[in-house]
Amino acid sequence: MANDPRLPVLNVIETLADRYLKGKVKAVKLAMLTLLSGGHLLLEDIPGLGKTTLALALSNALGLSFGRIQCTSDLLPSDITGLSIYDRNQNQFSFIEGPVFNNLLLVDEINRAMPKTQSALLEAMEEHRVTIEGKTYRLPDPFMVIATQNPVEQVGTYPLPESQLDRFLITTGIGYPPEEMEKKIIQTGSIREGIRDIEPLITREQLLRARQAIREGVQLSEKVTEYIYRLVAATREHPMMLAGISTRGAISLADTARSHAFLAGRDHVIPEDVKTLYVPVCAHRLILRPENEALDRKEILLSLLDENPVPLV
């Protein structure tokens, strides 16, 4: 069992959730699921709840290289991807890699960047490579973007278009910590300092091995496939929606469900895996009708979960 590819991953989650990011188990778990499934994470919450802290803690604990972009309206695509600079000594242009060439990229307040910059980033996220001045550079593997955005502020923001939201595997909020815990945090102050000291808990190889184990070792049965399809199809036929979940969305749901099953130590996906991840994976992909914009996407999806019976026989 010492060789179980699951253990280091679980170790990361437990350590982070118990010692550093108290009360953020769900967010940490979702972040790890995103990483295992090879997707990107969008943290959507008001400032000051620890979005950045989570991203920092995760990067430290994972022992991966870490880049960070603070988005502003004057941020240029080259600020992300990097650019070629003339080297006078060698008498040639040399390429200076931007923050995107890191395993883990924290994009703070992504909705503050101009659409042009957003789309450059999102292209990199989808393709896992960047093309600058006719030359294509591969991004490192694993590569994961943790973007944050503040859903409340509207002034000076460029909301992400639906097509680009679709590229994030999981969207989640963080929420306030439980009362006792928040009091303790208030008492002891921010834990930013402590986070710097986190030793890497998992190596890149271990992470890649876990990913392989998920791909090869977790079975998605016909019944669960059927269940996923029904859940996805239900959003497409929903009267309040302009567009339901895309095929990419369905694939994402299946992939994260596999990872979830893997973390639970199973070699098969069960409907509960799908149910757990249905809202985080699917909510941001829904396009509601203009008259229903005000509705909570999460509630709609939860009602769909209630309506579609779990396959049991």
Binding site: Q219, S221, E222, K223, V224, R266, D267, H268, V269, I270, P271, E272, K275, L305, D306, E307, N308, P309, V310, L312, V313
Partner: protein, 633 residues
């Protein structure tokens, strides 16, 4: 939207109608229109909620009706007055305001009336009424249970359909069980209630005298005389013998006890076996296929001239077995009282005397005389007819020489007279000729229309020989055997087969037959012979078997898998332990386990999910394990 009260009112009307259906024909002339009116009137009153009779008057009417009919009960007639009294009660109930228990009373009365009708008359239609009534009463009771909880309830069509579905399942299952029990359970030889059962009135019977010329026209009724189950016979063998007439008395042929004669010996082909199911009749003659050698299944006596007479009245349906050799000769091993069979009527025309004298003088050999007489009949070119018949003071003479048309009695009487005058001992035999073979049921259907008379003569070798003078009619081929050929269409054949099986399987069914059936089945299995073409019971049993197999097949297709049954049990266990609200179709087993914080539930989910979400079925040890967990939940 349907009001439950309206439904109940409708059903009480339907139930009343169904229960009275079989007894309508037996109701008093006075009561019948009242009953028929009361059913729609009752429904109308319920809708208007206005009733014609005040309660005290209704009670009075019911009591006086019961008293009136109770007075009519005699030892011989119990069922009809009792049924009448119940019909009066039911009628009064229909016409008075109804609450829950009144509906119940209506249903109970209806069932009693139907049961009572079986004492009066047990026909196959009884089953139809029974099935319909069982369904209606069950549905009515289901509605009633709803009605008592909320009398003003209005149901949507969907809810109503659900209710009706439930209501249908109960009687369907019980009727199926009833069918099985009917075959499986042993019964007494006679119905226990038989003492209450009045005799069926004899409706048919053979004429005990033969007197041609008394009517200008005869018309045979299509009334069923009997059914005879057995192999199909050649046309010349279809003589069903019942009665022998041997003496002439005032222009009629009648029967008087024949003098004793030597022991008869039947010489002929191997016997065939027929099972005869006679209709209730007023006489006691048992009809047998001509030249019967053995009659079993009924207490009877056998006369010297091969008649079989039952010892008790034949006013019930029953059956008996006849072993017979069609076309065999009846040789008498001793002397026959020839004088007895040579007595002639007092008045015989000159022409007939002349004819017989010619034959008598032609030869001393009886065989030659018989041939000569046959020759004479053929030469006369007589024709078979049932109207425009000869009459007058000497109808036989008119038949032979003037009109030359008549039916079997004319032919047989003329032959008798001439034969006896010519010194040939002869006797008249009454019975039936022909009958329609029903290939579906494997039996002959013989109606009163095929009643027939023929002659037996004592031939030279001291054997009684059958001679049917009617066959010498010029049109015998088209009339005699074909008399009621047109009556059985395929549909009627089917209906008659059903009726036949009803009589055979229900009315005359008894334990002995059942045991012999089992014995027979056992014998057949032991001897490992290929089964004979199924007849009667075997067809019914075979049909049932096929039906049950098909039903089982359909059920097994729809039957739930082992997994589904385990899951169902899991659900019911959880429901029992934690109540209803925890089970929603949108929740899975694993989350249920977490929600309830029940380790057994979690373990169940783990094992169960481990199989079905690996796309495989549960293994046996897994199932055992799951069942163990279920017990602990």
């Amino acid at each position: 939207m349907v009001r439950i009260k309206r439904l109940l009112d409708l059903f009480s009307g339907v139930v009343a109608l169904l229960s009275m259906g079989p007894v309508l024909a037996y109701l008093d002339r006075l009561l019948l229109p009242v009953v028929l009116l009361a059913i729609p009137a009752g429904y109308w009153c319920d809708r208007r909620e206005q009733y014609p009779l005040p309660t005290w008057l209704a009670t009075l009417v019911a009591l006086s009706g019961m008293f009136f009919y109770a007075l009519q009960i005699t030892r011989a007639e119990v069922a009809i007055p009792v049924v009448h009294a119940m019909v009066v009660l039911l009628t009064v109930r229909l016409l008075t305001p109804k609450a829950g228990r009144d509906y119940l009373q209506i249903f109970v009365l209806a069932l009693f009336i139907l049961a009572g009708s079986s004492l009066i008359h047990l026909e196959i239609s009884f089953v139809v009424y029974l099935v319909l009534l069982v369904f209606s009463v069950t549905l009515g009771l289901v509605f009633l249970t709803v009605y008592v909880t909320d009398q003003k309830l209005v149901m949507s069509r969907q809810d109503l359909m659900k209710l009706v579905k439930v209501g249908f399942v109960i009687p369907a299952i019980s009727l199926l069980l009833m069918m099985i029990f009917f075959v499986v359970l042993p019964r007494t030889r006679h119905p226990l209630w038989n003492f209450l059962n009045p005799s069926d009135k004899g409706v048919v019977g053979l004429a005990e005298t033969v007197q041609p010329g008394s009517f200008a026209k005869i018309s045979g009724t299509k009334e069923l005389a009997f059914r005879a189950e057995g192999p199909e016979l050649a046309p010349e063998d279809r003589y069903w013998r019942a009665l022998v007439l041997n003496q002439s008395k005032e222009g009629r042929w009648v029967r008087s006890d024949p003098p004793g004669e030597g022991a008869p010996r039947i010489e002929g082909p191997a016997p065939v076996i027929f099972m005869i199911y006679p209709e209730p009749r007023s006489d006691r003659y048992l009809m047998t296929l001509d030249r019967a050698t053995l009659v079993t299944g009924v207490r009877h006596e056998q006369t010297v001239d091969q008649m079989y007479i039952a010892r008790s009245a034949l006013d019930r349906r029953f059956r008996f077995e006849v072993r017979a050799s069609p076309g065999a000769r009846l040789r008498v091993a001793g002397n026959v009282n020839r004088e007895f069979y040579l007595q002639t009527p007092a008045e015989i025309s000159q022409r007939m005397r002349q004819v017989s004298a010619d034959i008598h003088d032609g030869s001393i050999d009886v065989t030659v005389r018989i041939d000569a007489l046959a020759e004479f009949f053929r030469d006369q070119e007589l024709s078979y007819a049932e109207d425009d018949l000869p009459s007058g003071p000497d109808p036989i003479d008119a038949f032979l020489f003037v009109n030359k048309r008549g039916y079997c009695e004319f032919f047989a009487s003329a032959y008798m007279t001439l034969a006896r005058l010519a010194g040939i001992p002869a006797r008249l035999v009454g019975g039936y000729y022909g009958g329609d073979y029903n290939p579906m049921g494997g039996y002959y259907l013989v109606t009163e229309a095929t009643a027939h008379v023929w002659v037996e003569v004592l031939a030279g070798d001291n054997s009684w020989q059958r001679i049917d003078p009617s066959q010498w009619a010029t049109n015998a081929a088209t009339t005699l055997g074909a008399r009621d050929r047109d009556q059985l269409s395929a549909l009627r054949q089917l209906a008659d087969s059903l009726n036949y099986h009803w009589v055979q399987a229900v009315v005359v069914f008894d334990l002995g037959q059942q045991m012999s059936l089992f014995r027979e089945a056992g014998d057949r299995l032991r001897s490992l012979r290929t089964l004979r073409a199924p007849d009667g019971w075997w067809k019914v049993a075979g049909g049932l078997l096929v039906g049950v197999t098909l039903l089982a097949g359909v059920l097994s297709l729809r039957r739930k898998s082992k997994e589904a049954r385990l899951l169902e049990e899991f659900r019911s266990r959880v429901k029992k332990r934690y109540g209803h609200e925890v089970l929603s179709p949108g929740s899975g087993l694993a989350e249920l386990g977490d929600q309830l914080d029940n380790e057994n539930c979690r373990e169940f989910a783990r094992i169960y999910y481990g199989a079905i979400f690996r796309d495989r079925l549960l293994t046996r040890p897994e199932r055992v394990r799951l069942k163990g967990l279920l017990r602990r939940i």
